[in-house]
C-alpha cells in the first residue's frame, strides 16, 4: 500500500498532491549569517558562475538548479548549509532571541540547531540533544563548519532529558523536531514510502508524545515549544498535540508562516482532537512545491498564566 493514499481525504487537490509527491526536489541552501550575509553569498555565486534562484519567502535561501550544494566556495567557508525549504519553518516558528536558553530536543544532524544559533546571533545557549551518537557527530561537524559557538551537545533520550549537565534547569524555548515516518520527504527519498508501516506510525507516536511532554515540562511558564514533523500522519501530528493538551499545562497558539499552509485536522479515522489543533500548520508539497511538513507552536503554562511572558533580561 502507498501510504499517501491515506491522505487523499485531507487534501484539497488530490491530483496535484500526488503529482507533486512524484517530482524530485531541487537542492536548497540556507545562508549562515554567523559568517556571511545573503548578499555576500549571492556575490560569491555570481563570481563563480554558480546558478541559483532566490526563494521569494526567505531572503537567505537559494535554490541551486544544478545541484551540488557542497561544491563551491561559500560552502567551504561555512557561509551556506544545504537544507530543504520546509525544514527552515520550525525555527521561524520558534523565533529564538539572542541571549536565550533554547533546547533542540531531537537535533541531529543539526540543520535547525545551526539555524537557531544563527537567529540568536550565536549568543545565549542552544542545547542540541539527540539519542543517536552517530548522527550527533554529523551535527558537530555541521556546527563547526558553520562556526556555531553557543551550542552544547548532549546525547540523551529526550523523553527523560536531564538538565543536570547544564547551568540552568529551564528553557525559554524548545524545539521538538520529532523522529517520524517521514512521508513528507518522499520527493527526496522515495524509499520512505516502501518502508512505511502502520505499526511504525503507532510506535513512533508514543515516542513523540514522550518527547513533547518532556519539552513542555522543561520550558518555563510563558515559554514556547514548537513541535514539527515531516509526516502527514495525524497520528503523529494532531494526535500528539491532543495528548499534550490533555496532560500538560499548554495551549496551541496561532502563528504565521510565510508560505501557503492548511490548518491541522480535528478528525481522523474515528478519533477527534481538540479544536485548537487547527492552529497547527500542514504544508503539502503541491501548495509551494516543497516537501511535506507539519508545524505547531505551543505556549507553556495554563490559559490564566501569562505572568512569565515578559522578557527575562539577562
Amino acid at each position: 500500500m502507498n501510504p499517501l493514499d491515506r491522505y487523499e481525504t485531507l487534501v484539497d487537490d488530490v491530483d496535484a498532491f500526488r503529482a507533486a509527491c512524484d517530482r524530485p526536489l531541487p537542492s536548497v541552501v540556507r545562508t549562515n549569517r554567523i559568517k556571511a550575509s545573503p548578499v555576500r553569498v549571492r556575490d560569491a555565486f555570481d563570481e563563480a558562475g554558480v546558478a541559483y534562484d532566490p526563494v521569494d519567502w526567505h531572503d537567505g535561501l537559494f535554490r541551486l538548479p544544478d545541484g551540488n550544494p557542497g561544491g563551491n566556495w561559500p560552502h567551504l567557508h561555512g557561509w551556506t548549509h544545504g537544507q530543504e525549504e520546509v525544514s527552515v519553518l520550525p525555527a521561524l516558528a520558534l523565533d529564538p532571541q539572542p541571549g536565550e536558553r533554547v533546547w533542540d530536543a531531537c537535533a541531529a544532524p543539526g540543520s535547525k540547531t545551526t539555524q537557531i544559533a544563527d537567529a540568536m546571533d550565536d549568543t545565549g545557549t542552544v542545547v542540541a540533544n539527540d539519542n543517536n551518537l552517530g548522527r550527533l557527530s554529523a551535527l558537530r561537524h555541521n556546527a563547526e563548519r558553520l562556526g556555531v559557538t553557543n551550542a552544547i551537545v548532549t546525547n540523551q533520550d529526550a523523553r527523560n532529558f536531564s538538565t543536570k549537565p547544564l547551568a540552568f534547569d529551564e528553557f525559554d524555548r524548545a524545539l521538538v523536531d520529532a523522529p517520524c515516518s517521514c512521508e513528507g520527504t518522499c520527493r527526496k527519498n522515495p524509499d520512505v514510502l516502501d518502508e512505511w508501516t502502520l505499526d511504525h506510525v503507532h510506535g513512533v507516536a508514543g515516542i513523540q508524545k514522550g518527547i513533547l511532554t518532556r519539552a513542555i515540562q522543561a520550558t518555563r511558564a510563558g515559554g514556547t515549544v514548537v513541535y514539527s514533523t515531516c509526516t502527514f500522519a495525524p497520528e503523529e501530528n494532531e494526535a500528539v498535540l491532543d495528548h499534550a493538551l490533555a496532560n500538560e499545562a499548554c495551549e496551541v497558539v496561532p502563528f504565521d508562516l510565510p508560505l501557503e499552509t492548511a490548518p491541522g485536522v480535528t478528525e481522523w479515522e474515528g478519533e477527534e482532537y481538540d479544536e485548537s489543533v487547527t492552529r497547527a500548520r500542514r504544508v503539502y508539497p503541491h501548495h509551494n512545491d516543497t516537501g511535506g511538513f507539519f508545524c505547531a507552536k505551543l505556549r507553556v503554562g495554563g490559559p490564566d498564566d501569562h505572568a512569565g511572558e515578559t522578557e527575562v533580561a539577562r
Binding site: 555576500r40 561555512g78 542552544v126 563547526e144 551550542a151 552544547i152 551537545v153
Partner: protein, 187 residues
Amino acid sequence: MSDPDHDLEPDADHEPANDGQRFDRLPATPADREVAGRASREEVLDWWEERFGIGRDFLDGYSFWEKGAGKVWVFNGEADDPSRVEAIGMTFLRTRQEHWKPTTRAVQRFGGHATRNVVELDPERASRFAAGEDQDLPDWDGDWGYLIVAHRIAGGTAPIGVGLYLYDELRSVVPKGSRADLPVVDR
C-alpha cells in the same frame, strides 16, 4: 594491583590530572593552574593577540575549555560544570605542544579579524590549498609556523584555513573531511 585499570585512577596524593573525557574550564591565569600543562585563559588570549593580532575585544566574551590532551574549545553560552556533555562550542586551539595550532574552523570563524600572519593566495593557489595540496611560497617574509590562509571572495577577504609555513613551503593542514576540489574563480 594487577588490574591495569587501576593505574588510570588518579591517586589522591597526586596533583589533579587532565581527564580526556570531560570538559574543564581553563584557569584564568597561570597562577590559578591546578592541572599540570593546562593552558590558561590569559595565555590563550595572549597567543591569538601575539600570533595574529586578534585582540581581546573579539575573544573576551568567550569561555575556554579543555577536553582531551590539549584540545581547547571556545564557547559563548552559559555553563558551570558541563563535564559530561559531548561538545561545548567549537574546537579552537591545540595546546600542550611546542607550537600551538589553531583549528581550521576557528580560523574561519575568527581569522577575519587577524592583522598579521595572514597569507592571501591568488585564485589558483587558493583552490590548490583547499584541496589539501602543499605549495612553494618563496615570497613570504612573515613568521614561520602556523599561518591563516585567506583569499579574495565576494568583495572581501575570507580565511580558508590553517597553513604551516616552513622553508619556502606552505603546507595545507586543512583536515581531510573539510578539503574540497573547487574551481579556480578568477576575479
